[in-house]
Amino acid sequence: MSYHNPYTPPRKSATFDDHTLAEIRRAAATGIYDIRGAGTKRKVPHFDDLLFLGASISRYPLEGYREKCDTTVVLGSRFAKKPITLKTPITIAGMSFGALSGNAKEALGRGATLAGTSTTTGDGGMTDEERGHSQTLVYQYLPSRYGMNPKDLRRADAIEVVVGQGAKPGGGGMLLGQKISDRVANMRNLPKGIDQRSACRHPDWTGPDDLEIKIMELREITDWEKPIYVKVGGARPYYDTALAVKAGADVVVLDGMQGGTAATQDVFIENVGMPTLACIRPAVQALQDLGMHRKVQLIISGGIRSGADVAKALALGADAVAIGTAALVAIGDNDPKWEEEYQKLGTTAGAYDDWHEGKDPAGITTQDPELAKRLDPVAAGRRLANYLKVMTLEAQTIARACGKNHLHNLEPEDLCALTMEAAAMAQIPLAGTNWYPGKGGF
């Protein structure tokens, strides 16, 4: 007798899911690895896995607004003659003119200035507009040295020696031909329209013992005025932080794998580097072990989105944070109002990451004048300032609820963890217990 198989729904493989199948087909068709912008998209333990305890019978909160909760931060107090003082611990991370349009860079400068914080140049050099519109401008010193010159070093407010970034610890830069306009090509001294490869190591130093001499040279050229930051991707935060201190840095910038990039191989972004949460405690531990916590400031970046994230990073021991992707979103990146155009590009608002192709409907990650025109730098600057102020207010609200009159007085003991991973990474007890993986007792 014939046997009729009952209907069973088709089952896709968790290992070979849709995205994986598409990627294999893409590689087979193009023969080139996939390049994109932004940071890691996989889910990783993050600030959402931590909660603040707040006040109760034994801890008394501060009155909102009337009882002051200070948010100022001083960066570069170790050696710099002119340290930087910011009204808020939220700074704008390094993003280049080239990856971003001139209007976008201007908007970031305006917004940061309105909010009393700093912004940072990127792998391409300093533009006059950015310097003009930025009250406090950090000048990046990268392996490519594009546009590097002593005048810009001297008109900068701080210098950031970039050893690496969270999206690609150990990776060089890659900006494909479409985005090298005449002005970008001229600033970078490159032929127009080529795929620009930049080195992954600095041309004239390797290792922390050489870095110490390079930092001394930069100090001598700028007469010891400027704070010198050292930026590194999240890989060996304990040792990297200690080595940056030994090399003479004023400030350490630690960028987790959620930190965005303008253009890098997807395989790099998704498989190399550590999440931000895993980097903070070891870095703070290194500073404490050297007796330099608060003396050498720690800036954490990579996936900072709200005042809660800021408060949690500071509670774990950071002195300040930097935002990149979030700042771009605030000025209009991936905005649903451009949905039609995103779909024409085969994507959708919220997922657009081919920033290297220069076709950004929002006019931010592009050099096309027609697209760049869509971004009004003044209005976008105000949007960024609003967002920065909201984040600062949010962080203050949480800090007051924990009874702190300064954001820096937030402590790890104000927190509890919801997940094993976050508890282990941050060494914060699981909610309702005094235990985290690796600690005795329960």
């Binding site: 490519s144 040295r145 002593p150 032929p191 390079k214 040279e217 001598e220």
Partner: protein, 228 residues
């Protein structure tokens, strides 16, 4: 002429004096003695001053020089005249690695040998080396001229952009995307100008070979994957 004895005077004093020159300051010539391998000697010059250094220096001597004329009577450590903007730096002895790294202008003359990565990532500087140069020289060189009277080490001009390389002696091996190119009249003219400026006598431009970018790596193509 002011003399700075670095075995006695702190480096800070030398460099801040060199930076603080108001336009038309009367002292424009300086002498440095007992450098004894110090780092960042005469770094950050931004005025047409001459600095005569008696002895050998460490890393980044004449770093980011902009308009100064610096002479080192001895050898120079890594990164001499790195990121030079204009002016000239003359090394009587040998230079270590990364000589003239990322230089954007001016003239660097090395009368002895230069070690590896000479002219790495150069962006417009002119470098003339009387002796030999080490491996990976002119790596990612973007523009400017590197003239070598002696031999070159391995991987010369790896990942080259538009920098022009002239080598009189042998080349141990060429880096990826770097090939020998035909010497045309305008190159011979440029070469003799550079030799003249660098004080080279009795050596004819046609004794050199020219090397430049094959430009195969200018746009990514998987067929060149093995060159990466």
């Amino acid at each position: 002429m002011p003399v700075f004895d670095l075995s006695v005077t702190p480096l800070r004093e030398l460099n801040s004096t060199l930076h603080g020159l108001a336009a038309g300051a009367n002292d424009t010539a300086f002498e440095v003695i007992n450098p004894r391998g110090h780092h960042a000697v005469a770094a950050g010059i931004d005025a047409p001053v001459t600095v005569d250094i008696k002895g050998s220096v460490g890393y980044y001597c004449a770093g980011m020089n902009d308009g100064g004329i610096v002479t080192v009577h001895g050898s120079a450590g890594p990164g001499v005249a790195e990121n030079m903007m204009s002016g000239s730096v003359i090394i009587e002895g040998d230079a270590s690695q990364y000589a003239g790294a990322t230089g954007r202008g001016g003239l660097l003359v090395i009368k002895g040998n230069a070690a590896s990565r000479c002219g790495i990532s150069m962006k417009g500087i002119d470098i003339v080396v009387y002796g030999n140069i080490g491996h990976m020289s002119a790596f990612m060189g973007q523009s400017g001229h590197l003239v070598v009277l002696g031999d070159a080490g391995d991987a010369l001009g790896d990942s080259l952009y538009e920098a022009k390389l002239f080598v009189r002696g042998s080349v141990k091996s060429l880096g990826s995307d770097c090939v020998e190119k035909e010497m045309r009249p305008e190159h011979l003219a440029k070469l003799s100008e550079l030799l003249e400026k660098a004080g080279v006598r009795g050596i004819a431009p046609r004794e050199f070979k020219r090397y430049g970018s094959a430009r195969k790596l200018y746009n990514f193509n998987i067929d060149n994957a093995d060159a990466y």
